[in-house]
Symmetry: C2
Subunit: 239 residues, 2 copies
């Protein structure tokens, strides 16, 4: 946090509650705060450099997003993850995201600029497909996939749908970061994303939606497979 040259804090545009919220959300997403970790307000006051009021507000907001569990008179904990919750998450996404990409497909059909953006991402995926496997490629892929997902979310007309999907993203990201990513998975995932892009760019909503469904099913299968092969990871998830 920088101080204005003049000397006084310039009454920052974003509230401290926003800052605390963002930082906590990020730490939960990254897995730095493991599921189940108790979140004492006073401890956060020290760590975040804000008073209890914005800290409390951030915790309440996170609880509303399902990232934190609040027990009355007992405080907050980072929300736990169970196998059932993973299944629920992906089932729900499988319900929402095909509808979202259909709307994005329609939107792109009428907005050349949007079409260009998606076309550029398609090129990016194609390039990634030709690169040799490496941690750097994996990182690049997840970055691009993230941009793609946000583009779809942004092109979703229905506000409820858009907000709900956006709210699910941190949960998915957290799962990715908690269960160590299978490098093998990138290979398949690139193909799936290419199929999504192709359907979307062709104006074929059904095809794009089918690609999303397939992608989600594969993702879930991979995660569950990882858990089955590595019971330790399951402990990570369930702890």
């Amino acid at each position: 946090m920088t101080t204005a040259p003049g000397g006084r804090e310039p009454a920052s545009d974003v509230s401290k509650a926003d800052l605390v919220h963002r930082r906590l959300k990020e730490e939960i997403e990254l897995g730095e705060l493991a599921p189940g970790t108790p979140l004492s307000e006073l401890a956060l006051v020290d760590r975040m450099g804000a008073s209890r009021t914005p800290v409390r507000e951030a915790l309440r907001r996170l609880a509303g997003e399902g990232l934190v569990e609040l027990a009355p008179r007992q405080g907050a904990r980072v929300s736990r993850v169970s196998l059932q919750s993973v299944r629920d998450l992906f089932d729900f996404r499988a319900l929402l995201e095909p509808a979202a990409i259909r709307q994005a497909t329609e939107a792109a059909a009428g907005a050349p600029e949007l079409r260009r953006a998606f076309a550029a991402m398609r090129t990016g995926f194609a390039r990634l497909q030709r690169r040799a496997p490496s941690p750097a490629r994996s990182r690049a892929f997840y970055e691009l996939a993230d941009r793609f997902d946000w583009a779809v979310i942004g092109a979703t007309r229905n506000e409820h749908l858009r907000r709900t999907i956006a709210e699910l993203r941190p949960h998915t990201a957290r799962l990715r970061n908690l269960s160590h990513i299978d490098p093998q998975r990138v290979e398949v995932s690139v193909v799936e994303h290419l199929r999504m892009c192709d359907g979307l760019l062709a104006g074929d909503g059904d095809e794009a939606a089918a690609a999303v469904t397939e992608h989600l099913a594969q993702s879930l299968r991979t995660i569950f497979g990882n858990l089955a092969r590595a019971p330790g990871a399951a402990l990570d998830l369930l702890g």
Copy 2:
């Protein structure tokens, strides 16, 4: 709010924030607080008999549910309603609720007690169908329909789906209360609910889902029809 006989408040089980939240939600649902109404924290402090802290928490929670709009440094207003928002709401419900009733159908198939509850509601709808139109019948219908909806929500296994649908209910209820109900609508709606019950009780998820879809489409058409015929109502909604 009652005081304990001994003299002191027994540290009520529910927090004041909960109470304020519930009261405000109800007033918004009932239309007592019209869309766009400014909600000053201090005014609410007086009216609700709580201090700013729980009032603020209630407002933030309502904002998370989309019932209140927060403008930084400018305060809260009851969220506005536009034609687009109505369409978005019903489109979204049309995406979620068929899936929910499919899960409820499966749940009922394996839970005799649940089946009995739904069967009882079916009987209630059938009885309503034979009654002569009257305000009392309309009230009874909406009460029963509400119980039915909550039963479906309760029987929805997927937690995300369940929470999301539950969060949409106040929005729908508000629309009903803002746009004066068409008594004619009850006639058709009873039939639609009977079809939902039949599908659900027969274990036919597809049929139940189709009935929900039909019901939502009809509801939306009715609301829009009302708005078209009575521009004054539109002003109510848009104001």
